[in-house]
């Protein structure tokens, strides 16, 4: 295994954990009862993935940190998620566009992991997660099409969501020393290898939704090395307050 594998698994786990926390903020605020439950289900799927991945990251790191230590006792600078998933929920359109952009990426990443990685434990987690994220991807794509190809207002608003979120997508495909080392060790292909298929699939969804794919200009990045937006620390404050106040507290 690559020395830096735990660091790389942490990125996967943090993507899932942070997005799970964001989506769970929708619980009881969903636009309809049915969609409220759908978003909560997706949040719970992601939380399950995060637990498995953080546990594995802790084992590979070998310093005795378990899932709770990693989730509750790291600062924002120590989180390794992409910026996209930590952004505030905004309105339902913002949330669902963010979800679509991430889900399309998550499917490709888990597909590659499930079939190609040399780390068999990671492959098992990915195989289970793949079924979940395929459903998430179908759900969010369906909503983007509905809203984009819906009313004049829904089209306008979801196009604005897309324009706002688009600059955050390039970070998903960045590679650095960690991802290159993991690629050489056979853990996962380079993130850049997902770019073409992701772009193709996202463009197809946007086309069906009659939305205009933004021209990529600004590149907002930094999450993988712990340089986050201000939004993450507020989110973590809420997520971590109980364990930090009463360490080891259980239900």
């Amino acid at each position: 295994m690559a020395d830096q594998e735990h660091e790389w698994i942490l990125r996967l786990g943090d993507d899932a954990l942070v997005l799970a926390q964001r989506l769970s903020e929708w619980c009881s605020h969903g636009p309809a009862l049915e969609e409220d439950i759908a978003l909560s289900n997706i949040a719970l799927d992601l939380l399950g993935q995060a637990r498995a991945l953080l546990t594995l990251a802790g084992q590979r790191e070998g310093l005795g940190r378990d899932e709770d230590a990693l989730a509750y006792f790291r600062t924002d600078r120590e989180f390794r998620n992409a910026l996209l998933v930590e952004l505030p929920n905004g309105d339902f359109g913002d949330t669902i566009v963010r979800q679509m952009l991430f889900d399309q990426f998550a499917v490709l990443r888990y597909e590659a992991l499930a079939s190609q990685t040399v780390d068999l434990e990671l492959a098992a987690i990915a195989a289970k997660a793949l079924k979940e994220v395929r459903y998430h991807a179908a759900h969010s794509a369906q909503w983007v099409v509905r809203l984009g190809d819906g009313t004049e207002e829904s089209h306008r608003r979801v196009q604005e969501s897309l324009n706002m979120l688009w600059p955050y997508t390039a970070e998903l495909f960045e590679d650095d020393a960690v991802s290159k080392a993991c690629n050489e060790a056979g853990v996962l292909p380079l993130n850049a290898s997902f770019t073409a298929r992701w772009t193709e699939q996202v463009r197809a969804i946007l086309e069906e939704a009659t939305l205009t794919c933004p021209e990529s200009t600004a590149l907002l990045t930094g999450g993988r090395s712990g340089r986050h937006t201000e939004h993450l620390s507020y989110m973590l404050a809420e997520m971590q307050v109980l364990q930090r106040t009463y360490p080891g507290a259980e239900w």
Binding site: A32, L33, E34, E35, I37, A38, N41, Y135, A138, H139, Q142, R146, T151
Partner: protein, 97 residues
């Protein structure tokens, strides 16, 4: 053009819990169309492994008998006791009767 409806139509949900059993009515939900109804039914009614198959039907497409027709529809069966299978010995192999 009529004003857009603010509420999604109601759908009735039928779930088959296991192969070999029939679909059973489990409840209803709101959805904009059939695709969304299936997806919502999955999220609302199969979270605890209840299903292997889902049917959704628009509630307005269901024709129901009216309670006032009860006597005409159902009373005549009261004295036809020979229609019950209690007069026959069922082989053990026959299940789900």
């Amino acid at each position: 053009m009529s004003a857009p409806k603010t509420e999604w139509p109601l759908w009735e949900v039928f779930i088959r819990s296991r192969q070999g059993l029939s679909h059973k009515h489990v409840g209803s939900l709101h959805a904009a169309d059939a695709t969304m109804a299936i997806s919502n039914a999955r999220d609302v009614y199969t979270r605890r492994q209840e299903g292997t198959s889902i049917w959704v039907v628009k509630a307005e497409d269901i024709t129901a008998s009216t309670p006032s027709d009860k006597d005409v529809l159902f009373d005549p069966a009261n004295d036809k006791i020979y229609r019950h299978p209690t007069f026959y010995d069922l082989p053990d192999e026959v299940k789900n009767m």
